[in-house]
Symmetry: C3
Subunit: 400 residues, 3 copies
Amino acid sequence: MGDDTGPVREALDTLDLVDHHCHGIVTFGLDRQGFESLLTEGAAWPGSGISLFDTPAGVAVRRHCAPVLGLPRHAPPEEYLARRAELGGPKASRRLLAAAGVSAFCVDTGYAAERLTGPAELAELAARPGVRPAAYEVVRLESVAEAVAARGVEPDEYAAAVEAAVRQAVARPGVVAVKSVAAYRTGFALDPARPAEEEVTRAAAAWLAGPGQGDGRRLADPVLVRHLLWTAVEVGLPLQLHTGFGDSDLHLHRADPALLTDWLRLTAGTVPVMLLHCWPHQRQAAYLAAVFEQVYLDVGLALHHVGPARAGAVLAEALEITPFRKLLYSSDAFGLAEFHHLGAVAFRRGLAGLLQQRVDAGELSLPDALRIARWTGRDNALRVYRLPAPDDPGDRTGAR
Amino acid sequence: MGDDTGPVREALDTLDLVDHHCHGIVTFGLDRQGFESLLTEGAAWPGSGISLFDTPAGVAVRRHCAPVLGLPRHAPPEEYLARRAELGGPKASRRLLAAAGVSAFCVDTGYAAERLTGPAELAELAARPGVRPAAYEVVRLESVAEAVAARGVEPDEYAAAVEAAVRQAVARPGVVAVKSVAAYRTGFALDPARPAEEEVTRAAAAWLAGPGQGDGRRLADPVLVRHLLWTAVEVGLPLQLHTGFGDSDLHLHRADPALLTDWLRLTAGTVPVMLLHCWPHQRQAAYLAAVFEQVYLDVGLALHHVGPARAGAVLAEALEITPFRKLLYSSDAFGLAEFHHLGAVAFRRGLAGLLQQRVDAGELSLPDALRIARWTGRDNALRVYRLPAPDDPGDRTGAR
Amino acid sequence: MGDDTGPVREALDTLDLVDHHCHGIVTFGLDRQGFESLLTEGAAWPGSGISLFDTPAGVAVRRHCAPVLGLPRHAPPEEYLARRAELGGPKASRRLLAAAGVSAFCVDTGYAAERLTGPAELAELAARPGVRPAAYEVVRLESVAEAVAARGVEPDEYAAAVEAAVRQAVARPGVVAVKSVAAYRTGFALDPARPAEEEVTRAAAAWLAGPGQGDGRRLADPVLVRHLLWTAVEVGLPLQLHTGFGDSDLHLHRADPALLTDWLRLTAGTVPVMLLHCWPHQRQAAYLAAVFEQVYLDVGLALHHVGPARAGAVLAEALEITPFRKLLYSSDAFGLAEFHHLGAVAFRRGLAGLLQQRVDAGELSLPDALRIARWTGRDNALRVYRLPAPDDPGDRTGAR
């Protein structure tokens, strides 16, 4: 997991990654509580006596991000934050984003967009000599539906209005996918069938008449969430699905992607389904990716939260039966530029460690290992999202 | 996981295994698509651009089966298939089956029997100098019930007819167990109680009046599936249960063997229950094997799909709390002779690696490690199924 | 996992642990069947031909406890039991408890109290030169409620009587926590809301009128179990919850702590919730500890059942995302002094192995590793239960 070298590690260290699912960052200054609140998927716990630096993610920030800002490895939190403040948010972020070595970002713009950099700004901050990363956008379906509701819509026009709004959103330049957070809103134990029009109208009527208004109306009705999944099928872009690990607004057992099995059967042959994060259900996700042609997965979010020390173990489970064209890299970084860097480091080292070990044991050929590295780190994403190959001077690993 | 040696590895490499659950193979020639469709638990995906050789199982075939057919390790798929075609299906299969080093096969004959070798033919193909493997049969309960329905039966005679048919099937020479695929048909969240006669009659009436006829009638009624589990208890042979991983016709979360807990309580003291495959629920299966006298498990199917590179990791989880007399070897190989070989290689290397590591660390004595190897690879199966000890010149590991 | 050394291992080997959840032991002599029945979470299986020594726990007893009793590593069961009998239960137990190196025990006194040593006696048996361990008590809520029922109570006085009895029980000197075995009685898929008074009265009426009387009345009503969880919130002490692995009187899938999510949301800001054992749901528990301020976890029970050979692997999963102030040490030892020793050995070696490896790989600084060792082995428990720092001459690891 550590400082080992070898040809696979070298190849992964120099491969420009495609991050197929991430968020923007904050570039304004962060005090300790502000920084800690972004270090965790929970809330910061001021007054508890528990620092969120005392976590695997906090340790990994001190280990891998401190040197990028010019500090020694394992610098204490106070020094780290002081140095970050000294550089200023934008400059520190530039360094960390450049260190991540990403050539294309697919950015979910549907959450906390007002606080975060947009795709273009994120890519610009990540520029480095010879590499100007591409920026793509992922449209969050629930946010589109909530915006439709906030603008005002009649229940019997809801379905058509939402589909039209989604089609309009994905027609914007640079949009490459849609995303659903059904895992948060209802979990995956949904009726898999496409809801009938009357059903949607009835559910929309209840929702629109219910509490909340304007931006405060949160879509969590099972019929309407299902309707969004089926709208994604209509629209035809790859569908990203949050699964597994996330913040405290989640039921982890209802975010098991295996619960989607019947829906995946019904929608086979339509859109690629990208299972995001997955931890601790990565084996369940791998099963789905192994038996359904349209299913892909990543272990984003987990990568920076478990850190390079455990990323290899999580990746090893995710790859136990997953076809090698089905695993993608994502950071799912949110808020902190640190997580863009950490996700990339954890992926590179974790994957390199497990592949190199198999090469050393004679279980895998070196060319196969290098191919798996390029596929999962970059080419699988280019293929699924039909992205142009990035201008990639950092790639020393040969042809795709 | 690799080329390490040591006394445990030597003992396992020379131990003739008992494969307590497998299927026959196809001996006719296979083109690339035909071969790939057997490499996966899903379907082949022609036109997708995704080769099923680019999977852990595909990599393992190229690594471990290519040398058996006289090719270098990691030979490309094209060369592998060309060499296989050159030798011809029967000759290639003979080599691979012999390399598996199995002395007894327990063969599930209840699925796709018309395309696959029967037990005797499989054993004959696996013969090698000094070893003529034994062949036993496992009767699939759902297939028996479907055959009863296909022949025609009155609802109120269904229960008795099925029990009679099962008794007749298991009376055939060489039958050592029955098997249920309840995991596929209903999952394990069943009412655990023995169904009343009227209940079975009612359910049979509905099923027999329903769609499908002849061989096309698929038993998936929860009462009738339960009735089969209780019929197994009546008949008294060990009951094999598919659990966990399988093809796309499954709900992985409903195949968690922990869901069987109440039924295992009710049937304690009756028949041995053999939990097959289990992955990714191997720890749940281990719990059941640790607390219920009648429960046993294996990690077949997973072994060749994860390959030798991860078999040790899966076995280590399966063995965390499992009594050493409760783990068995199975390949669950289906269709490809390759999987008979790979399952055996993955089991031998995975188990040897973890046992040798414990011996080296002083956590386990060498004699204990050798005993655990013999038990799990052979003797536990001989004991549960009451099989005669195979004539076993390949065994250099001493007395049982 | 084995005989490695290093500064982290040295620190953990000399750290006096706080065992925040355990049971008393039997000090009377044990024949083979009596000993084996305590070696397992199931029942002993006399006549089955399966010895419970042939388990990971049995192997670990022979490896780690035999030397404490003056035998060579890996001594056969017969020799081990003969030596134990020769020393006598109390003397053998003293040696094993002293070897555990524990400075404070929090003892669940609510189960099989008549057969087991109480907290004071346990601590006295564990005394060693320079260390006289502290003894604390954990009150089991279901036992209190069952005692109220056994004494006789009117349904409409049940709620108040139970709360009064719990308050009286926790007012005893040395009581530091309450515990619920809801996992066994109903599982965690409970209505999370605080039950209304009438609801409790109705449920109490049904329970009190039902079968069982005196000590034989087992509380398993979902409303009354929920009422106990909310009584714990009222009383205000840390609440220990059995989760995951346990004996055959359990449904493992209903003991997944993720099922408690809604209840944890409702009770945020009230009492610390200590998730005990967790295996195989340690990642689910880690998620809860990462996102809810009040949640803590341990992997007790699993430690001695998986043994030092796998304790590191289980701890590594438990620590993947858990804040380092949220993991505690417990043995959950019950009946056998051996398990007090084994739990401690497995924890020390498992944790030392994984921390040292991260230090060696440059992923963790040595001071951080030592801090994590002290926190998880001792200080987190002192903090949550507000225990006085033990007089701790065995601690060479510096200040907290």
